[in-house]
Symmetry: C2
Subunit: 440 residues, 2 copies
Amino acid sequence: MMDLYELTMAQAFWSAGMAELPSTFSLFTRSLPRRRGYLVAAGLDDCLSWLERLSFGPQELSSLEQLGIFPTKFLDWLGDLRFQGDVRAVREGTVVFPDEPLLEVDAPLAVAQMAETYLLNQATVQTTLATKVSRCRQAARGRPLAEFGFRHAQGLDAGMKVARVCRLVGVEATSNVAGALEYGLGVSGTMAHSFVQAHEDEVSALRNLAEALGPRATLLVDTFNTERGIAAAVQVASEMRVRGVEVAAIRLDSGDLDQLSRLARHALDGAGLFTVKVIVTGGLDEYRIAELTAGPDPAPIDSFGVGSAMVVSADAPLTDTVYKLVSCSGRPVRKTSSGKVTLPGPKQVWRSPGFAGDLLALRDEAAPSDAHRPLLELVMREGQRTEAGRRSLAESSSHHAGEIASLPAELTDLEAPAPFPLRLSPELEALVARMDRSQI
Amino acid sequence: MMDLYELTMAQAFWSAGMAELPSTFSLFTRSLPRRRGYLVAAGLDDCLSWLERLSFGPQELSSLEQLGIFPTKFLDWLGDLRFQGDVRAVREGTVVFPDEPLLEVDAPLAVAQMAETYLLNQATVQTTLATKVSRCRQAARGRPLAEFGFRHAQGLDAGMKVARVCRLVGVEATSNVAGALEYGLGVSGTMAHSFVQAHEDEVSALRNLAEALGPRATLLVDTFNTERGIAAAVQVASEMRVRGVEVAAIRLDSGDLDQLSRLARHALDGAGLFTVKVIVTGGLDEYRIAELTAGPDPAPIDSFGVGSAMVVSADAPLTDTVYKLVSCSGRPVRKTSSGKVTLPGPKQVWRSPGFAGDLLALRDEAAPSDAHRPLLELVMREGQRTEAGRRSLAESSSHHAGEIASLPAELTDLEAPAPFPLRLSPELEALVARMDRSQI
């Protein structure tokens, strides 16, 4: 899981006798994706696992040899390579903003460079998806969500990582069986249109489903005509109730979900089926969910099943993450490319209470006040995870819940969030000015 | 790799004695993603491999048992399950349109239903990405492309599948070493900004790189100021040339790429470095590439490195694929949900030469004319791949090249492609009308 240029760079550093120079790389985002007021940091655990495993086995070295571009002595050097550096990172689930490092790697130049592709891949996809899922939760205003999107995720790994970030962000359930088992979410499943289609008529289909699944049965009512489907579901739910079984829910998957949910609730209540829930699915994202939960008389929906638009972060599928050298041999460095300027030096982010504003400082600066807390913590020392590097997903999820609880409303607006104030410390400002003057 | 509802459906079919009913499911798209005039079918090989492997081992059965929702006898039935059905599919690399099946599965109802999540996941991500890559190739108007996007792909599987569809669509190279080795692409790598930053000055950095990599060296010139970077690169390339080594290229990664590429070409030509290439990267997609290659005096760019926007299909990250029951026990079925109507029955797509229009027919209808060819072919019979199911990626890539060569320009327009004419056969029309009348 590496790009060629990381290996050619390693080779060039090795040729120039620079491979072992101490260096710091910083992984951060250059900007917020559109309409986002914040990001949810995610992916650290996978990044650390990869660094722990980093090595080139005989098969990999032989594949690289076949490319015919690497000297044998360099391949020998690769064969001995392990990651023995330090990593500082923000906790998973932390709310972060552009220019704030998600993680920093201190390691020999050639080794730290090699981690670029994997670390970016996992930090980017998981942060992008955690942020999207967080927005959907905001929009649901306390109603439970279930994630139904594996089928439309961009590949199998993304499908699994969606389940992971759902656990992180506090989504109750996923349809993905492997994801639920791996990451400790509830598992949720309803029924397929095929079940109704496979029967001669809709009532027989719903009856067969209710009999097979009992209190787990969720009756999908839109295969043909939703109003008739609701009537059929109420009929079957009433029959089951007479026999002492309460089905779980009615599910609406198309049409005017606001109007149909009111119709379904009214029909269920009219039959005394007060505890049978109304679940909606079908093309939902945070914008659509917010419409359904808004106002003094929101749609009577008990929970949302969210799929495709959430699992690819359809309105903003990309987060502009980069992994940049900020220090080499103790010397702070930066890039001044047009539109892609980076800030020099290893850093720390200091956060004041209530998200009043963050301070981006050089790593070794003192705390700006007793009220500020540092976001970056040592998670790996000399290639071994520290205690902070071994946090469980459940702990990260609790941490995230605390973050969201204290996030001001202006940052969570779905359409036009307020910009978040990030200041540079005077020392960082002075370093930038010094480097500007000497044109580095 | 399965959603819970597929298992609960299987359980419900099994309880109702319907699990073994012969059925056909069809995988197709309901609409074209925005601005697309066509789709490139991809992902079949992974779908067939999954069907070949489909089985529940002791560990999986024990995980399912722990969920506490499945009867033991049903789990026994799952333990014996293998895929022994038939699959018909269009060849990978084929140009396809909405409502045309990418594949159809004939299998017992409960088994065919279980394949939904995996087949959709792989067909969707690979078709979405193959289509995006195809658009970038159209925009490059014959200039080579290299794929540099693994770091920003949505996860590791997507990162690998990007390389796969690049091979399918005819992209020359990828930066992804594992992807290049797995799928037989060229591997391409340049240099990192970190290499320049790690040195005291830019000229020394470029010189060290050129010395380490010789004719493979691509000099990245935008770390600080691109005009000065170009001058430094020309100086180093000239020094190397005196020593008999021609470096490969200059790479531009930011700024006004049209203007800077002209500047770079002019500076290289002025120094007699006519064979040193100009490569551009940085925020490219099909729209930006098309601007750079348009008109009578296009930018003098030799090749494009394309990353993030391509590998997540940023402007249209989702394709609206579905997997629907179309036949059960020999009876054609459909869905008439609001906005989500599907067409009944197993199908065949008949294509006339030159993309004049396709005919969507029932599977067993005769060819409409000698000039029409059928798109769906039998790729798996009773769980075993046929010869057509064993095509190599190289064969599929050749097939795709033929498809693209005959595609009319109005379908490849990047902004406003013409709609493609798809007609239904009279028999399919008559079946729909019959079902409308009987309200099924």
